[in-house]
Amino acid sequence: MTRDQHTSVSNQPEEQVALAAEQALFQPPSEGVEGTAAQAGSNGLEQVEGYVRPEYDRMSTELWTPPTAELPDIGVASFGPPRPAAETVHGPDDRVQITNTADYPWRVHASLLITAANGDRYIGTAWFIGPHTLVTAGHVVFINHPGHPDHGWVQSIQVMPGRNGPSLPFGSVTSTNFRSVRGWTVSGDENYDYGAIIIPTELGATTGWFGFGAWPDADLLKTTGNISGYPGDKPPGTQWYDARGISSVNPLKVYYDIDTAGGQSGSAVYRVINGSRYGIAVHAYGGATVNSGTRITQPVYDNLVAWKA
């Protein structure tokens, strides 16, 4: 049943999903072909001027021990009444603006202008995983508003990698070619809220891309999550970054107290391993005390590999 929900779907007339027979469970990144590549820190964070990791979040991995008691899924806590108010920026807003967006890794993130089926417009974020493929949230490429004129695949998405306000260092490219899965497009289930944008150029070969992979729970729970994207509560088209330790996971989602705002749907939730960046989830929802994204698991990984081919 779960596997069926990950059945890849496309807005194109015919699409074959090719799954490679044997693959390692992570895909490597690429820094692109030109420009400057910023080095990540040794602590799983990006080195960003002005960004300071909150004291409470600086827990050494050596001090972390897994809980022995059976803990409730924090996602269940978010859904059951009575419910605290859900916010996407939790406590002090410690997002910092990225201005060197023409450099790797920042240019991997793209500002999106989305035109829905009825012409309604939205903004979101996506990130390159290959020369012509960006990953984003399912609700960015397929709007689930049954009975409303904007329901269904969006008309088009203008993709602007490394955007910095009015500056488009890599120009823009418009896509009308999208991917998602039945769990989102048919069932509207937020546990399957992921998709992809296929662009008609190989611009990702210039910007570079992130790797992505699936890791065990214990590994993710000791990981620092990084998010950089294009929030609507900041000056238009500006890129903002934040990072925190991963709060919790379940088989389909990752939860984190990384500040975001509307417009960042589709952002990569990524980790740094030996200086290389790997997506671990696709940011999609604001929540009570944590935000959440669709976890990259085996079937998600398989679809992303197929979509980047």
Binding site: D73, G75, V76, S78, F79, R83, A85, A86, E87, T88, V89, L113, G119, D120, R121, Y122, I123, G124, A137, H139, V140, I143, N144, H145, P146, H148, D150, S187, G188, D189, E190, N191, D193, P231, G232, D233, K234, P235, P236, N250, P251, L252, K253, T260, A261, G262, G263, Q264, S265, H283, A284, Y285, G286, G287, A288, N291, S292
Partner: protein, 90 residues
Amino acid sequence: MPHSDRSTHLITGIVEDATGRPVPDASVYLTAGPEPYPDIAALSAADGSFTLSVRGAGAYTVQCRTPDDRIGEATVTAGGDSPARVRLRV
């Protein structure tokens, strides 16, 4: 684990200035609600209108930011079959 098999509730509205004129190209997004909600932002149309959607019924805070840095905010209760209407004044 949480599974969504619930209806979508729409939040529609208009962004307008102090004189009541519509404001286009404002980004409109949710900042608080009773349940997780999509972290996407709408852009107000030429007539100031916008549409957002949520799954859980209840009170949501809707905020907007115009290209010239004006902020508007209001609370709206979503639920039922009819869209919840909200007016954001900047």
